[in-house]
Symmetry: C2
Subunit: 267 residues, 2 copies
Amino acid sequence: MSDRLNTPSERSVKNSGLTVRVSRTDDQAPAETMQDRAYQTLRHALIVGKLPPGKGISLRAMAEDLGVGVMPMRAAIARLSAENALAVHDNRRVSIPEMTMDRFDQLMQARLLLEPACAMRAIGAIDTAALARIRAHDDQMNASYQSGDAELYMAANYAFHFEIYRAGQSEVLTRLLESIWMQFGPFMRKVYGLVGTARLTDKHEIAINAIERRDVTRLKLAIEADILDGMDLLGKSIFTDANDSLLSKGRSAGRSGRKSGTSGDAA
Amino acid sequence: MSDRLNTPSERSVKNSGLTVRVSRTDDQAPAETMQDRAYQTLRHALIVGKLPPGKGISLRAMAEDLGVGVMPMRAAIARLSAENALAVHDNRRVSIPEMTMDRFDQLMQARLLLEPACAMRAIGAIDTAALARIRAHDDQMNASYQSGDAELYMAANYAFHFEIYRAGQSEVLTRLLESIWMQFGPFMRKVYGLVGTARLTDKHEIAINAIERRDVTRLKLAIEADILDGMDLLGKSIFTDANDSLLSKGRSAGRSGRKSGTSGDAA
DNA sequence: GGTTTCAAATTGTGATCACAATTATTATGA
DNA sequence: TCATAATAATTGTGATCACAATTTGAAACC
């Protein structure tokens, strides 16, 4: 604790589920401040579904887990709460939001409205380099699907979509979508372990093809179809009473908190 | 007949434009904590356009102006920044975001996509009491238009729209829209003073009529038309080089150095 | 055994101080 | 007069302490 530790050289990796590795899901902020480090780490954990819905988030505990001070963690949690990635209860306690059918519907409707529009705005700006990265993400996703690494699978899926959206430099729309993805990330991860992720037709391939041909309509349809695939797969059928108990294993943070370690149930 | 609304020239320039009054724009959080009080106050100021684009936001100065401590203000600013209502620059300095044509396009596109959907989700849940409130907001808006109170005008417009959207209990979508409205609030306020707010046909009346008849399609069209009216009014034509200097009077607090042009007294 | 009671631990909120980095202001040079 | 250097003021970030409100765990009770 000598002088300024602006340099992200040292990374005090700690215990528990998520390590402090500065694994930024995307090329966002430089994360030069501690609170940005904490934010990026938590954000990545949410998107890849490392954290189960309902899990309580304790300020001090999470700060120690991530190896940062309390103040940076406070800021990170506040930011994620404002982005609706974390839920604040009346008790002023924070947790990973629980998923409901209504919430899922809204999230998917928002995706269905915003993502095709975002893709269409971007299609003209995707050069060969960007297209190569998009292909790489898709390959990574297929590989992770084969190897059964759900977190890598989700990270690659996120990277694929946002590599497209970000090409259009639609910052406003992209920010909205980032918030949305963080919200259904934890839920998706849980669900991927339950239902077989049988991919009918690879909509990503169609999307890549549409980008090559600069076919705006086709790209729009591909993105829509990709989202609908996910909805069909884990939509309504998941929210039965039988499965509901499975999905909300980590109870609402209103009570308890001792089950902070429930990050298992891998696929 | 055109320039009904007050120009923002009288904006009190000094930071102390907004008092601590807990003027909540809507019926949101209980705001029992200090940081919620600060958040609600700033949020309301943004939505009604009390703060000009480009204005720098100083943590300590704003805290003193609002009569709260530094910690609550820090949390409030962090939250609004996460909601993209405030812009954080590389200097880690915060300001009211400047408006660009591209940003405006994206905001309006997001509105165009989300708001009709939100209204359609809500139409079935609007009972007579809610409809009465909606009418009251519209009346308030017309009255404010006549009297030339731009801030009240904008507050009523906000209340009108979100009274509809919130009836559908679409929390996810509504949150997204709140972020969007906070983003174009400051810009709208500035623009209202420049262009004459000549309302061609009152789309609000059409919307109310559609709600009465439970005419979903008609409501969707009314909301779309209302948004398009605003776009046509202050869209492309505003972003000419001539007007641009007017619009970005308070310069960005970013790299260019100069802090908010409103640091002193008169502009 | 099951419920109630009560102390210890933990929670988020907020204040206060410290510090490095900018920004603003004044002083000093040609 | 104008540009440069030095100084003062202000900024956001972070640590640390304090405090009230819950939550937890165990003891005490019926």
